[in-house]
């Protein structure tokens, strides 16, 4: 181990997250490989190692024998300080080599609040922050992940961004880069060539122009860059790579278990939900493959828990078959199976009862809105009756803790909708009083609210976020309306929601704000330990920008949006239709009941959805 590192590790919290050396980590001979990539996750080890996308891409890239992909996470504050004081540059866990020695840095951008951390990781690596300040071809700094669906706020820092699922496009980019490096291309030539790979957005090849009112006038493609960059998907999940020998962390991480992905996409079409639109279309794994992945991963890791992951487990066609198959294998070995993201229906409850012999933990449901009217507005297809019925089964089955998630600030929300949340919670409590076989144990009902953040590529991408004073007023209104002592209420803080809203629909000018916040010491802004609202407000004003312009302004439907060059598969016409239906509180059918011809089917090889 590096001597300087050896000296600081005893002084920091949880040093095992900075050493690598875990079981199943991929180690190659650096003299033998042709390309070295640093997979950079802009958050701490415990979060990054819990991220399925990172696990998949790490394995998938390393499946190329001549490419070595290593992991880099952001150090927690104490470690970052020690590293800076002792002039230790950011390094990769596998080899311990400094990130600056790599050919390629690939960042995972899953959430906006990690943006400052990307800059900090570049700086800790001694790499200039802006693409324009890195004239050489090497290193290539690129990013992928959900947040790239609005690439603009991070555009100046990245040489290119990949849209959608990375399994195939990442390798295509790496191979082109390898060729460019070996043939000594100029960076410009490489970027122009890379822009021809489907799914690749090269920010420097799109030039924004502004109107006097601050809105976007044009976003002009340069040097033959495509008019629209369409996200990539993997068509056939059964044939796709899946990591069945994942790294087993030697220290605790957030989700320390085997992850089995059931399907991608979602059939539901909740109008507030970015994931429901940008991950379309739905593609399922076969039950056989799910069972095979589960068994192999459990054997290869020694984990005692597996989780079946997807956006909405209940919508998985082969759920019963997959659960049965896995349970047969897991039960005799004391391995537990968990199934998050269930809908509030009878079928799900029966399944939960089978999976959880011991009723540990609570059950979580997300009605999202307190009244049927507002649930219709957001197309959340769950009725009060269904929810209460599910709670009844849960209480009868021995559960005594229920968590209910809602959003405040949804379009058209009134005080009646806010109070409706409290009423729904008290109805749940009433159901418990009526049906719980064991009242002595008491009950815990937790209501949580977050502030609605309009996201790009969702039907609500034109909406204004409610001003924060108004959000706080609604929180207080709800707080006052919840009177039962068995119902507790917690709410998401307004300041972060506001900043997140400004970033998520930001344009290229917001990059200056991100950099200014980083210069003022901002990193790991997703953590309340580090987030400082004042720093963001100062940065916005020093850059001459108004965060409310991005967060709390309703966009005209014909306004040119910063992400206008990105095609996530769904037609803008469909998003508009959904927005208009929202105002009529009119439901749209889910994909299984009736295809809305959203456009996502064209991404599939066969051109038809089958989930």
């Amino acid at each position: 181990m590096d001597k300087a590192l050896e000296r600081i590790l005893p002084a920091v919290q949880k040093p095992a997250r900075y050493t690598g050396g875990e079981y199943n980590e991929v180690v190659k001979d650096k003299r033998e490989v042709k390309l070295r990539m640093a997979f950079c996750f802009p958050d701490v080890y415990e979060i990054g190692m819990s991220n399925l996308g990172m696990r998949i891409l790490y394995g998938c890239i390393n499946a190329e024998p001549d490419i070595w992909c290593e992991r880099v996470f952001a150090p927690w504050g104490d470690m970052a300080e020690q590293m800076r004081e002792n002039h230790i540059p950011l390094y990769a866990l596998e080899s311990g080599d400094p990130v600056s020695a790599f050919d390629v840095l690939g960042f995972s951008l899953g959430y906006e609040m990690a943006y400052c951390t990307v800059l900090d990781m570049l700086d800790m690596s001694g790499i200039p922050l802006r693409s324009a300040d890195r004239p050489g071809l090497v290193p290539l700094v690129f990013a992928g992940g959900t947040s790239c669906c609005n690439p603009e706020p991070m555009a100046p820092f990245l040489d290119l961004m990949v849209l959608g699922e990375g399994e195939e496009v990442d390798i295509e980019v790496l191979r082109l880069f390898q060729k460019a490096r070996d043939e000594g291309w100029e960076k410009r030539r490489f970027l122009a060539e890379a822009a021809r790979i489907p799914g690749v957005y090269v920010p420097s090849l799109y030039e924004p122009e502004w109107n006097a009112d601050g809105t976007l006038r044009a976003m002009t493609p340069l040097e033959g860059a495509p008019e629209r960059v369409t996200k990539r998907i993997v068509s056939n999940l059964d044939a796709a790579y899946y990591p069945t020998a994942p790294i087993v962390p030697s220290t605790e991480i957030v989700h320390d278990r085997v992850n089995v992905e059931l399907f991608r996409g979602c059939v539901r079409g909740c109008r507030f939900c970015q994931a429901g639109y940008v991950y379309r279309p739905i593609r399922a794994r076969s039950a056989e493959r799910v069972i095979e992945i589960g068994k192999e991963s459990l054997k290869n890791t020694g984990c005692q828990e597996a989780t079946l992951l997807s956006l909405s487990s209940s919508d998985y066609k082969h759920l019963t078959a997959a659960c049965d198959g896995l349970l047969d294998w897991c039960e005799p070995q004391n391995i537990s199976l968990s199934l998050p993201s269930l809908r509030a229906d009878n079928f799900s409850m029966e399944l939960m009862s089978r999976l959880q012999k011991v009723r540990r933990g609570g059950l979580t449901f997300a009605p999202e809105a307190g009244t049927q009217r507002l649930r219709d507005v957001i197309n959340k297809n769950v009725t009060e009756e269904e929810l209460l019925n599910t709670c009844r089964i849960a209480f009868e089955g021995g559960w005594n803790a229920i968590k209910l998630y809602f959003m405040l600030g949804l379009p058209t929300e009134t005080d009646e909708d806010v109070r409706g949340i409290a009423e729904l919670a008290s109805k749940v409590l009433h159901v418990w009083r009526q049906y719980s076989p064991n009242k002595q144990r008491g009950v815990r009902i937790t209501v949580s609210t977050s502030c609605f953040i309009p996201k790009p590529h969702s039907p609500f991408q034109w909406e204004a976020q409610v001003p924060m004073e108004e959000y706080r007023r609604r929180v207080e209104l709800l707080r006052g309306s919840i009177t039962a002592k068995n119902v507790s209420y917690n709410w998401h803080d307004a300041d972060t929601s506001f900043v997140e809203a400004a970033l998520s629909r930001g344009d290229r000018r917001v990059a200056d704000v991100i950099e200014a916040v980083w210069r003022a010491g901002g990193r790991m802004e997703a953590w309340s330990d580090y987030f400082r609202f004042g720093r963001w407000m100062e940065a916005f004003s020093s850059c001459g920008l108004d965060p409310a312009f991005y967060a709390s302004r309703e966009r005209a439907e014909d306004e040119l949006l910063p992400w206008c060059r990105i095609d996530m598969g769904v037609r803008t016409g469909l998003l508009l239709r959904e927005r208009h239906r929202a105002y009529e509180a009119r439901l749209s059918p889910d994909c299984r009941a009736e295809c809305s011809a959203c456009g996502a089917a064209k991404l599939l090889e066969e051109g038809v959805c089958d989930g």
């Binding site: 181990m1 000296r7 900075y18 690598g20 079981y23 220290t251 605790e252 890791t301 020694g302 011991v358």
Partner: protein, 219 residues
């Protein structure tokens, strides 16, 4: 055959795995290797594994001992190899056997200590260090569950042998393993407290061997 003991090495990157984390690491090694380890009864069954003398984070060891239980006979000669094949870097099993003595009988640990001096002349420091630790008065302020207190180190240190190399002074010695447990880090702490001019820029420690009260190697 029910109760078994494994001797293993914990070095390199693995020295930063905490005691608590190591328990889970071990459980998973056993599961990957297919070792039939025994679990406790009850709602939350846990593997019956215990590490004889928990090691502090950052300290390496050539002689860790771990007791565990199995539900059926295992091939003891093959076990270390089977486990090594599925272990993280730095954890290496050396032998498996049926223990004859309880871990409570461990009394002494042979330690190798390395004291780094980045800018000072180690050959000049050596006699001063020897003299410092030869004193029957050598002590350190130690925090225990009962609060902070003055702790006399001398009776719990033995067989100190010092060597100096450029940049580093090496010490091999015995420290009391139990009753009282003496963390070798206390040696450096004592220097920092009472003889700062002798305090090293960095100190690292490795456990080399375990002994009972009669100085017989403990297995």
């Amino acid at each position: 055959m029910d109760k078994l003991r494994l001797r293993f090495r914990k070095t390199g990157k693995a020295v930063y795995i905490s005691h608590l984390d190591l328990m889970r690491v071990m459980q998973r090694i056993f599961l990957r290797a297919g070792t039939p380890i025994k679990y406790s009864e009850g709602f939350n069954p846990h593997a019956l594994i215990s590490i004889c003398l928990p090691l502090s984070v950052g300290t390496a060891s050539e002689c860790e001992l771990m007791d565990f239980r199995v539900t059926r006979d295992v091939d003891l000669a093959a076990l270390p190899g089977t486990l090594n094949a599925v272990s993280p870097e730095g954890v290496r099993f050396l032998e498996a056997y049926e223990p004859e003595r309880r871990a409570a009988q461990i009394k002494w640990l042979r330690m190798s200590c390395g004291f780094d001096y980045d800018t000072r002349d180690t050959s000049a420091l050596l006699p001063a260090l020897e003299a410092y630790f030869a004193s029957p008065e050598v002590k350190v302020t130690r925090r225990t569950k009962r609060g902070e207190g003055e702790f006399g180190l001398a009776p719990h240190l033995r067989e100190m042998s010092w060597t100096a190399e450029p940049g580093i002074v090496r010490l091999e010695c015995l420290v009391s393993a139990q009753e009282p447990t003496v963390n070798p880090e206390l040696l450096a702490a004592s220097l920092r407290e009472h003889a700062p001019e002798l305090a090293p820029d960095f100190a690292r420690f490795t456990r080399l061997e375990t002994y009972d009260a009669d100085m017989a190697v403990f297995r």
